[in-house]
Symmetry: D2
Subunit: 346 residues, 4 copies
């Protein structure tokens, strides 16, 4: 049994981690931090965790270090940058879902996140937390930087084609649609107010969403060459789910069968990524509450582009599920531990 | 290990049973019946059951009897009446979620269901499948008639007060709100068409919903006296969940503390029913995908009525979850087996 | 042409007033106040008002008085109490949709609203703004206190039966369901955050919602006797609409035909209230964006209660529409002016 | 006054036409056809049309011709092909919203619609019903073929850039998101069943949606050259609205200012198309119930593509609103007649 801390336990990512880990056979939830609800019992804040009387505590890195061997960080950018190095120094292993350690190049932080990165060494050290692509780095890592929800959906859909050099990696369009829980729980802004978000679809962060550089970084890494993605995220009126519709241009003489074949082969032994038969396309509903990703792929004959569509749960595979998958790799247990549940349908 | 059949495996209740039972340590899913999809593999019909390649089969009572010891029936009224006796005759135990064996009095069937009941003996024999109230009858039963979703919500909220004779059982108002999945999957009627049901609330079956007689039957049974309920169901634009708001009249000199006390005591040792602290009221969101029921209770001083509100998932505690809870009792295992998961929130 | 001010023009009630009044043949929108957006043009704040370049201004009673003859107040309790007397003193007529002038009895304000009322004389003077019941008082009034959305739905459903003494006015249950826009636009609280409100139903303010005393006041007034209502409001996941399900007890020997007859007669000449044929029940969808109210009535034979269900749009008939209806009466024009549009369906 | 028939009056497009035209000063609704509800009064079928007692009639071209001068056809493909020629022969003018007369090239019908076109002459004659682009052809036309909802959104977003040859018309990606009312009212299929469509996003008709050839036809026409569009439609869980996100490649040395300038100039005098300021992006909510279209445009610097996003109401500008706009042109009245209402917000 490993003693694990969840830092930021009462946000949407945090409660999903609790839900997944409470029955994990190798994990003891030893420290649940919450600034907002410190001093209260989990079951009093969240009655649906009936019976879980564990007390929520303010974040105290020393106490975390004293009681835990591994920390799951589900706190905003900035807080992670400050806390993660302390936990690492104290000997913990860390999985961080903030963007603070995702980008290899420290020069990108002032541009995309408006701060100078103070720990460039950790950027070099951190493993990027997509197990299908970086399992070997994740397993022994001291620090795993779990990707954003959009990035996860885009990378799972695109990386096999880029890695096999079947498409033009510099001519990709990725149109993302997310449920509103992606905005988090504490961000009570007007766009997420029910009467505004309901019965509405809109694009946002056009031409500048922060998940872009990490998508590109991974595609460039797996493809060993330049990548360019036109990525536009959209809010759709549902709670959970991301659908990523990718439009790619196959290289000359590459047929759809080759694209599909590469996709199928790439994920053939992956328990969480499912390539659909020809003519079938994924639904986000299939993924709710799970770590699964479903991918459809087909040809748009008129335009000469191929279309790849991936579906995940932004809080599952897009956040907490993927963190647990990384945790399993780090613990050396089967990566599906505590994760092989299908969605509650419908 | 017990070999279990799910009859009607591809309806909403059926897939929820599959989801719950696939990891049940004492259950082997030996027979999944589906008329619509007979001959196809489960994972082809429902891609979210990735990897479950079991073949769906047409309902054949002889084959079920040959291969299974227990059948979970999730088929419509009429089909159940015809099939259940055959399965019982073949030696199986049966949990049926149709209304066909819920009512003790065969004379009620022509009135409420427009057919003459052909097996009145089974009506006498069947245990009513609410474990908190009929566990002793369920455990050894050959046939369990699981209640309707509304009935479950109403009975859990009202029975403690009626049993302790703290309220006037003949003066109850029960106002129910359900998600649309209560309509099932094959009933593609206009009221459930997305553009009609979305952004709408409406009452239906006013003064005559079929769950009424079973609610009344149980309340009369636990209270040993007459009961009358004004019950109105409503469709609300969500997928899962039932909220039942009950307005009751305490007997003379009965204070709210006595009502609350009875409720708390009644469910103190029940793992699935949670009475909330004073001033807190349940949300259906807390129950999605689970067998849990949350209950709030308080006084409406102005009118002199007490208000009891219960929340369940209509497909969980209101259907598949409760069937599994009954199954656990029948198998003699802990009744929480395969059921103690909290909701995926939000 | 009458010059009209909308005070609180950028809340949900305010923009609905603008939408309704922009094409009103007797109204000139002379002053639109907004504290949040003062100095900006309406079409810049709300692009859907394309072309409406009118500047939003901070609330200045003197300026309003100088430029307008009538003010529509759509601001919160407290602000109305302070501003309305100034506008009246300056010679304006006022329709106020806050609760600050709804209750006749000043002693109710400390109990229900936690403040001492400073203008009891205005409480006596104010007309209660439900035209079907108080048209004669509204037409000449200096001050109209428009009722709350729940109160409007309940009063329209219940008053005919109470006025004709056909039911026991002290034994009423009113179960209300509202869309989330009832919470307003600036109240960015967790319960209205999309991921929380979506896929959820819950009761709130059980036993103490502030619309109760005004409902009771009107029912006592029209019935000339005591009235008691057990009223529980609920949040349902939609943007607009209120459904009010009322359970009433007919007096001895009063049949459902008498109840229905009274309802039909009462509203026979009312352009906005529509009593449905027997066996039909209203949908909130029918009312979106309109001032219409649909009412269904029938008998619950089992319990001996009658059920009356009313549907309105909480921002239409429940707020802005009713204010315009009152305005029409005050202006002496047909009360349907600018209001006779059917809902956009679906 | 012109006597107008609505053929298919009880579908979603039909009732929207009724709503818009009932107060049109130059139109008398003389014939409302409905096969499903023939013989019933409109207000009995749709209670929200309270007071509209007009009888619905079966479609009888001779009767329509005898009583009307113009017909609005809102019936499915196939029916239109059969009925429209009869109405034209009888001397009526026709606006048809089916695809049966949209495509100039009869050879496309077997490919896209699986039938041989029997009236190629009418294909040549029909005006394409997007007023901003074909007003001169629409005004005198005998037959107007109104475009599909997706096509309308895509053409309004793209045509100015293609017409001015500012982008590569052969390298366009158009990602569409629609509310479920686009499926119509009578199509009670599983994907539109509330529990399936709610809390889900999915792509459909990938690489082969039937609106593609008409989009391409118009872009080729306005651009006088080849056009290719990779178009993927998606279902999102809302009732009304289409958002079209277009990714285009500016030609060499064409800056975003030139694109924006062309867009602004093109629609400067158009009452229904609104180009948003830099950095603002449209919401479908702004368009509900209206004929308005909002367009945002900006640069995606990373990829070198420009992004154009348009929002319309699929039943408003995407169907009934545009038909009324065409009708106004044909009648020689101001094209905004009966259409200049803003959305009911929120």
């Amino acid at each position: 049994m490993v003693s694990v801390a969840i830092i930021g336990a009462t946000g949407y990512g945090g409660v999903e981690l609790i839900r997944l880990l409470r029955s994990h056979p190798q994990v003891r939830l030893a420290f649940l931090s919450s600034e907002t609800y410190a001093g209260r019992r989990l079951c009093d804040v969240y009655p649906h965790f009936a019976g879980m009387e564990v007390e929520l505590r303010p974040l105290d890195p020393a106490a975390v270090a004293a009681e835990c061997q591994l920390a799951l960080m589900a706190v905003p950018s900035g807080t992670a940058l400050e806390v993660v190095p302390k936990l690492l120094d104290a000997g913990l292993r860390v999985i961080d879902v903030s963007p603070d350690f995702r980008l290899n190049d420290p020069a990108l932080y002032p541009t995309w996140y408006k701060f100078e990165h103070t720990h460039p060494g950790l950027l070099r050290e951190a493993a990027f937390g997509i197990p299908e692509w970086y399992a070997d780095a994740i397993a022994p890592a001291r620090l795993v930087a779990a990707p954003g929800c959009y990035s996860t959906a885009a990378i799972l859909a695109l990386a096999p084609l880029v890695a096999d050099k079947l498409i033009d990696a510099t001519d990709i369009v990725a149109d993302g649609k997310t449920g509103i829980s992606g905005a988090g729980r504490t961000s009570l802004k007007l766009p997420y107010h029910f009467p505004e978000a309901n019965e509405d679809v809109s694009a946002y962060s056009v031409g500048g969403h922060r998940h872009l550089p990490e998508m590109v970084q991974v595609l460039q890494d797996v493809g060993a060459g330049p990548a360019r993605v036109a990525f536009t995220p959209h809010l759709v009126p549902m709670t959970r789910g991301i659908l990523m519709t990718c439009y790619v241009r196959p290289k000359r003489d590459v047929e759809i069968e080759a694209l599909r074949g590469a996709m199928v082969r790439c994920y053939a032994n992956e328990p969480f990524v499912h390539v659909l038969p020809e003519g079938e396309w994924p639904h986000t509903k299939w993924t709710v509450g799970t770590n699964h990703c479903f991918i459809g792929i087909g040809m748009d004959r008129h335009s000469g582009r191929a279309v790849v569509v991936s579906a995940i749960d932004n809080l599952g595979r897009g956040q907490a599920g993927q963190m647990v998958q990384c945790l399993n790799l780090m613990l050396g247990v089967d990566q599906t531990t505590a994760l092989m549940v299908p969605a509650a349908y419908p």
